[in-house]
């Protein structure tokens, strides 16, 4: 996908991301992640990380992958990786978020980077940091290039639509093999063996109809791996879900720019000599007599694509666990081990475990190890769970039975 000013939204991003991950791991050999755990030291470690990673990137630069173009403007993978690294240096908040993630993992599982999967976990966190950063950088690039407001989340939404178009186009391309899903996307029955006209007319993202995107997302529940991007419970794309107009505008914008940028001269090659001529304009504007106003400063706009805050990790009092002879971090680990609370979402963790205890027994192969009391290898007893929940045993029983009754009532 190409949009005005963006540099990190094309296929080459994968290579940029891999290269940054690889070189970051090299950097962490000399700048151990233990340095990142403490706030003040973590700030100092940023410079060291940038230097070491930059060095690794330069060395990697002699290899083939680095020379490859990372986007259709001709920026190489190495150049793109390098400029994202320098962006990080100018954005310490992103670095602290990364250090926070490392510290949280450390609180859960100790010096994880020394363990067998250490590199993979560290690399994942590095990836997450740069994934956020690239959309920040590109939404800034976009705003500077065209003067329209954008946000990192909106950039992500553009990309979701671009990917959706790609999926629809490939389904249309093989419509015979995917007749049922294509029919669902078109919202009509297919007429026998004749090729649907729409599948032939879809030539670019600009000619993709917004209602197809919505129906495609809807169809994933039936034909794909679960809820489509517009149909998850996440609020992220809720402003798009019911707005064909908004989807259509974004699709056309991607399509129009793609056509424009492939046909017209591109602006990447500025004559080096006049690269700073604009400064004279700036000085002139700033030295002019002050205007009378009124001030016309743009108001901050509300985020169009709100990010769902990840569920906060609750604070658990380790004394409670110790009081019932469980490891001090039992609650924290058990909480992290449940992949989704699902049907028991409204209940506290001890009530959930009490439900499992009653319905499936103290030991079941499907229980995560973190749920088990290391002393017995089984779920904690009702007595222990009551202690963890700070309620009496009869109250815990009552809550457990209410939760089971609610499950039964909700059963189809």
């Amino acid at each position: 996908m190409r949009l005005p000013g963006t540099r990190y939204q094309e296929h080459g991003w994968e290579q940029v991301r891999k290269m940054l991950g690889h070189c970051s791991l090299l950097a962490f050999v000399q700048c151990p992640p233990a340095e990142l755990l403490d706030g003040a030291a973590a700030g100092r470690a940023l410079d060291m990380y940038v230097d070491l990673t930059g060095e690794a990137l330069r060395e990697a630069g002699s290899r083939l992958r680095a020379e490859q173009a990372g986007n259709s403007y001709g920026d190489s993978v190495q150049e793109l990786a390098m400029s994202l690294l320098y962006e990080l240096q100018a954005r310490p908040a992103d670095w602290s978020a990364f250090c926070g993630a490392v510290a949280a993992e450390h609180a859960r599982s100790g010096a994880f980077w020394e363990g067998p999967a250490g590199d993979a976990i560290l690399r994942k966190k590095v990836n997450d940091m740069y994934a956020v950063l690239r959309d920040k950088v590109d939404s800034d690039n976009y705003q500077a290039a065209c003067g329209r407001t954008c946000s990192p989340n909106k950039m992500y939404a553009y990309r979701m639509l671009d990917t959706a178009y790609g999926e629809i186009a490939s389904l249309f391309g093989a419509w015979q093999q995917h007749a049922a899903q294509v029919a669902a996307i078109l919202g009509r029955e297919l007429a026998g063996a004749a090729q649907p006209i729409e599948t032939r007319q879809l030539t670019s993202i600009a000619s993709c109809r917004p209602e197809w995107i919505i129906r495609w997302s809807e169809s994933l529940e039936r034909f794909g791996d679960g809820a489509g991007p517009l149909h998850t419970r996440s609020k992220r794309f809720s402003s798009l879900k019911n707005s064909e107009e908004k989807i259509g505008t974004m699709l056309r914008e991607i399509g129009d720019y793609e056509e424009l940028s492939s046909n017209r001269d591109q602006d990447w090659l500025q004559d080096a000599g006049d690269a700073a001529l604009w400064l004279e304009d700036l000085w002139r504007v700033c030295e002019a007599p002050e205007g009378d106003g009124p001030d016309q400063i743009l108001p901050a706009l509300e985020e169009e694509f709100p990010e769902e805050a990840p569920a906060p990790v609750p604070l658990f009092d380790s004394a409670l666990a110790s009081a019932v002879s469980l490891p001090p971090r039992y609650m924290e680990l058990a909480w992290a081990a449940q992949n989704r609370a699902g049907v028991l979402e409204a209940q506290s963790l001890p009530v959930r475990l009490a439900v499992y205890l009653k319905m499936l027994g103290p030991a079941d192969d499907s229980y995560p190890a973190e749920w088990l009391d290391p002393e017995t290898g089984e779920l904690p007893t009702m007595q222990q769970l009551a202690g963890l929940d700070q309620v009496s045993l009869p109250t815990l029983r009552k809550r457990r039975d209410l939760a089971i009754a609610a499950l039964l009532a909700a059963a189809p």
Binding site: E10, H11, G12, Q15, E67, Q68, A69, G70, N71, S72, Y73, G74, E87, A90, R91, A93, D140, Q143, A144, A145, G147, T149, S262, N263, D265, Q266, D267, W268, L269, Q270, D271, G273, D274, A275, A276, L277, W278, L279, D281, L282, V285, C286, A288, P289, E290, G291, D292, G293, P294, D295, Q296, I297, L298, A300, L301
Partner: protein
């Protein structure tokens, strides 16, 4: 203007633009910035402060300032793109042209391999300058892989081996059909 001035100006521009401010956003509309640039409306004190404190708004200002300057000489060339347009007809692909018709890619089959030839149309407005300056050129496919990199010879041609296993036509189909010829800038 001597070199020192130019260097210093570049440095000052970089210092202004390399800053990042958390939660930065466009503080002034294009209308307000353009009016300040053409002198029809002066910025108020608060607007001026907003501009100076927002690197993003300064970047927008730079764009608008640059856009007001006369376009570069008409023999400038920054790149050309083209696409594989015809549906696969079963015949081997012999050539492609960029949309501006100034560049052609030719594919010549040699046994089980292919040769790739890039040709510049001598009538292209920038042909003289490119042949004179002989910049390093690069042809990139729709997936970002480099097909060719080198400098034109005196006839405006560059020739090399086709770098992939699959035949050119198939390759372009697999990688988004597009390609770009552009100067490599470092």
């Amino acid at each position: 203007m001597n070199t020192n001035d130019a260097l210093e100006r570049k440095l000052r521009a970089q210092i202004l633009l390399a800053r990042r401010v958390d939660g930065d956003r466009l503080m002034l509309s294009d209308e307000v910035l353009n009016a300040a640039l053409d002198g029809s409306r002066h910025l108020t004190g608060a607007e001026r402060a907003a501009l100076q404190d927002s690197p993003l708004t300064l970047r927008r200002f730079r764009e608008l300032s640059n856009a007001r300057r006369p376009a570069a000489a008409n023999d400038a060339w920054h790149g050309s793109s083209g696409m594989l347009r015809a549906a696969s007809s079963g015949e081997a692909l012999a050539g492609l042209k960029t949309d501006d018709r100034h560049w052609a890619l030719h594919f010549v089959e040699q046994g089980d391999k292919w040769r790739l030839i890039l040709t510049l149309d001598a009538a292209a407005p920038f042909a003289g300058r490119l042949l004179r300056e002989q910049p390093l050129l690069r042809v990139v496919d729709g997936g970002g892989a480099i097909l060719l990199q080198g400098r034109l010879d005196a006839d405006g041609e560059y020739e090399c081996d086709w770098p992939f296993e699959s035949a050119p036509g198939l390759h372009f189909q697999q990688f988004g059909a597009g390609f770009t010829v552009a100067p490599v800038h470092r």
